[in-house]
């Protein structure tokens, strides 16, 4: 793999299990370990604190040749969450503009390769392919859903933003976002479950 293996990672107890807080919501902190991922189930409400990397269509398209040639990506994906979003510009004095999720399926082509490199989480909206869901099981990953079209409210949870790479892509550049208590739900877990299918089954009349 092109990723430098010598980069150190904060130590994580491999047995740590994420439990729900008294309000029923699970607090998730990044980076994620396999044990973290295993303790998340589809339908779990979560609050994410830590780092999210933003990336969508154009950034992923640039990852592809790098991954094919075993070259390093602009950031170390191991243990991280990629948030599929293209924020609107920040007003002066604001951290960020509106920052809701975009459709995850457009990144299906790239996701299994990133999961193989150690990416642990993805966040977006909408269904993922069977290939991506199989890769979540195989490499222990999780797909979170953020509320699409709630971009103004979601901006409240973003503390800091910096561009990491591909500034020329504008809204599609890769940004490192520090978030606190970012609300999401587990759509696809590493056990093969899918919230969309289960939800639809439960409420179809």
């Amino acid at each position: 793999m092109g990723l430098s293996a010598d980069r150190t990672r904060p130590a994580r107890s491999p047995t740590r299990v994420i439990k729900a807080s008294p309000d029923g919501i699970k607090d998730v902190t990044t980076p994620l370990s396999d044990a973290d991922v295993e303790s998340l189930k589809s339908g779990d409400r979560v609050r994410i604190t830590g780092t999210l990397y933003t990336g969508r269509d154009a950034a992923h398209a640039r990852f592809l040749p790098l991954m094919d040639e075993d070259k390093p990506l602009p950031f170390d994906v191991r243990g991280q969450i990629i948030y599929y979003t293209g924020p609107s510009p920040a007003r002066p004095g604001m951290v960020i503009g509106s920052v809701g999720p975009t459709t995850g399926s457009r990144m299906d082509k790239y996701a299994p390769k990133l999961l193989a490199l150690g990416l642990k989480g993805m966040m977006g909206k909408g269904s993922r392919s069977m290939e991506v869901r199989a890769a979540l099981r195989k490499y222990k990953g999780v797909y979170f859903g953020a509320v699409g079209g709630a971009g103004a409210v979601l901006s409240r949870y973003v503390r800091k933003v910096e561009i990491v790479a591909y500034e020329d892509l504008g809204t599609e550049a890769i940004r490192r976002m520090e978030v606190e208590g970012f609300p999401a739900i587990v759509v696809n877990d590493c056990h093969g479950n899918d919230l969309y299918q289960e939800g639809m089954k439960a409420y179809a009349r």
């Binding site: 509106s98 909206k125 639809m200 409420y203």
Partner: protein, 280 residues
Amino acid sequence: MREIHVSAISDAVKKLCMDANWDLGTDMLRAFDRALTTERSPAGKQVLEMLKDNAQMARTQKIPYCQDTGFVVCFVELGQNVHITGGLLTDAINTGVSQGYTEGYLRASIVKSPFDRKNTGDNTPAVIHVDVVPGEHLKIMVMAKGGGCENRSKYKMLTPADGLDGVKDWILECIRTAGPDACPPLIAGVGVGGTFEKAAILSKKALFREIGSSNPDPAVDAIEKDVLERANRLGIGPQGYGGDTTAFAVHIVTYPCHITSLPVAVTIECHAHRHKEVTL
């Protein structure tokens, strides 16, 4: 003959673009409240509450309701006794879009060519439809159309034998396949009749009608209500997390059609249903 200067058109469009993105219509806010009284799913209710909160925050802080601030689709009714001075109508509209998106901190989401995919930087150009109508007024209707839901819009050429049942099933199929990807609760704009392009344009225009209002044609109104009721039995729910509120409305506009055809276009619109209009 009444004269309208292009600067008045640009100023109007600029304001419409900003207002559309910051200020979700009261008909949508009422739709959220109505849905909260019928939605059984706790996750669905949480989503609806968050959307209300989102609309409130967008309006008060002038942050776009959704970061995808859309493709500007502009319907213009141009009175035939109006003379536009100082330049071209389309240029005036695009100037307004550029100013609105730049000065309003709205996202630039348009690429110049579908193949090279370089961003134009100011969300221009708009998609503009002009109808020449009697009179001395200029009506401008602007919609900020989201990409995620637009990607789930569909067209089908049915046959006369497919009939009304075929049309209903097709609309429902479009809502079902849009699913969680298009940010439900959805609105389906439907154009039935005309030709291939006419049906598609009507499906957009249908979205401008007030949410919760009845179709002026009682027969078509009954069709809309039937399809909406069936859509909300699909179980998709807010954001696709499961629930009773999959769609807020189905709006149908019809047009005469050829003896061989039954064209049906369905524009899928999300809850970020952002549109404003003004008459100059």
